[in-house]
Symmetry: C2
Subunit: 361 residues, 2 copies
């Protein structure tokens, strides 16, 4: 077996521990005589799997009891509509902060369902920083404030949370879920496409404060109503059963093999430090993000020469470092170093970058 | 290894050939050094997988070139809204035929977006038959006619297609997709949740005639617009990548191991005949569906005695026949004998039923 170091922004690397367990259990899960994929979602066997996944998530993320955990489909892109359809129901207005393409998409969708106020934006410098959090002025009448806590494409992360008073804070945490502890009680809604740190593509996890689950806007498709999914324990219709099982395995790995999110954060900080430290001292490569806004998960960098960037991407791929090409809208390179990327992977990448630097100085 | 015979209505049995291949490829797909689950959906490696799945589906189902194949999420329940939101756009009315709980749900959702005419219903006899197809009168001004071609819960299948003239016929084929050939050109839209015959839960396949893909109703969430998905080759956002890979493996199995849908139909007819023939002659068990409306896939039956039904379900489970309990809204028993259920599974079940009959006469 020769597995590559996969720096994909998502879907992305999964822990080998998880993949091995999934492979071993593919034809028969425990003593059930079935694959998890074949289980009726209404069976006792499967009920145990989904509830175990939820309970591990609650434990790892320290989710308060007055929050529901929903296992949905459709990715963050579906949440871009579900959030306004379900939450923009009192004053029909919301505050958005624009820190990249995904928050722009979220805002554009929300504008279709109410009045949107763009509180701040970092579009002026290609989203290479998070706007001054202390300077943001939020509307106390807004139904919610929406932010993208980690920006996959531009490699930024909010250095701290904004003060929104009584207005619920809604955050897209797709590319940082489970990478470090978060104080869930500071949020009204957290949502994530699973395909970075939580499991396979096709599962969307929503963590929502119970008092925010109410009557949605008129015309909201039944499947886009949080209330329907909350009232039915994510079993209104058939959930993405296998992806939830995989998410449970990832949680088990985080708990048993890593020791929880505090430990995961330390490992992620170690990995990020190796890469950022190299970038800060390199004569060829440089990071594109302001130091105070750097993501632990997504690290974009450039040589400053497009041809050299291409050469690097090609040579690194040949050497077993795949998906280092930057997002099609940004160019350059990007190393996504999610939970499953081992420290050795980052060290090996930096060694390769050093060699490339020497050869191309 | 001791795999059970799983008669679940869905998620349901998958071919062992498929599960073994998936298990073997879990850590490394071909020479890519990655699991399919870890692949960027924008990578060449994954592009090949999704296009191969589509091309196998097109070949197996003989899908004409003027139809798009969309790989979506959210199950048939999401289609219940997507169909009216995208198709009820000319005269804002549609015809529905009610043949069970799922078609009722589809109709209820459509009523939220336009005028719905219930053309026929079999509610009077607990949906144990398909209403007279020749007697149905459709509105030539309707934007479409919606039917559920196979009814999972009640075990009925339309004996023939209705004549709808120029009005597009839309059919939910969740529980019969890939079980037999269908003339796709007779339909405007076909849709299916994958979790019966096509792959894991979390994938929804929509086959839609290109001229029906247009501007949806105002306010339709972006992710509920067929046009968005069609224009982006099902890659507007991250699709359920692994489930699509599994669907491709199922198609490969159908093509290479079974020899296509004509052969699959023969096998399915053989299985169904074994079970129906037994039910027709049994002194204890009897089928609940009128002979002319019987499904090849879902076979509900009863003893006529609730206590005996319970005893049968318990004893059959202990003997390795699982998920034979009827739907919670119907009671009795139901054997779902999808593509992956081997002939031996049905023979073994009938042998067990005979023994139970003798012991409980």
């Amino acid at each position: 077996m020769s597995r590559v170091y996969n720096f994909s922004a998502g879907p992305s690397m999964m822990p080998e521990w998880v993949l091995k367990k999934a492979s071993n259990e593919m034809l028969e899960y425990g003593a059930t005589g079935q694959s998890v994929m074949e289980m009726s979602h209404r069976s006792k066997e499967y009920e145990a799997i989904i509830r175990s996944c939820e309970s591990l998530l609650r434990e790892l993320m320290n989710i308060p009891d007055n929050y529901k955990v929903l296992f949905l489909q459709g990715g963050a892109s579906s949440q871009f509509a579900m959030i306004p359809l379900n939450l923009m129901t009192k004053n029909h207005k919301a505050d958005y902060v624009t820190t990249g393409q995904w928050s722009k998409k979220a805002m554009a969708e929300a504008k279709r369902y109410g009045t949107v106020n763009e509180v701040a934006s970092s579009a002026d410098k290609t989203f290479s920083y998070i706007p001054d959090v202390d300077a943001m002025k939020f509307d106390p009448e807004a139904d919610y404030v929406h932010i993208t806590l980690n920006n996959t494409i531009y490699g930024t992360k909010w250095p701290k949370l904004p003060e929104t008073g009584n207005v619920p804070l809604v955050a897209d945490i797709s590319s940082m879920a489970l990478s470090e502890p978060l104080d869930v009680s500071k949020f009204g809604v957290l949502y994530a496409g699973a395909q970075k740190n939580m499991g396979p593509a096709g599962l969307t996890v929503v963590i929502i404060r119970e008092d925010l689950i109410g009557e949605p806007q008129e015309g909201t498709p039944t499947m886009f109503q949080y209330k329907i999914h909350a009232d039915n324990g994510s079993m209104y219709n058939t959930p993405p059963t296998y992806s939830i099982y995989m998410c449970g395995l990832v949680c088990q790995w985080l708990k048993e093999e890593i020791g929880g999110l505090e430990n995961m954060k330390k490992i992620n900080e170690e990995k990020a430090a190796i890469l950022y430290d190299f970038l800060d001292h390199s004569k060829l490569f440089k990071g594109t993000v302001e130091p105070g806004s750097r993501s632990l998960m997504n690290v974009p960098f450039v040589t400053g020469d497009e041809e050299l960037d291409k050469k690097f991407v090609a040579e690194s791929k040949a050497a077993g470092f795949v998906n280092l090409k930057g997002h099609r809208t940004v160019g350059g390179m990007r190393a996504s170093i999610y939970n499953a990327m081992p420290v050795e992977g980052v060290k090996a990448l930096v060694a390769f970058m050093k060699k490339f630097e020497e050869e191309n100085a």
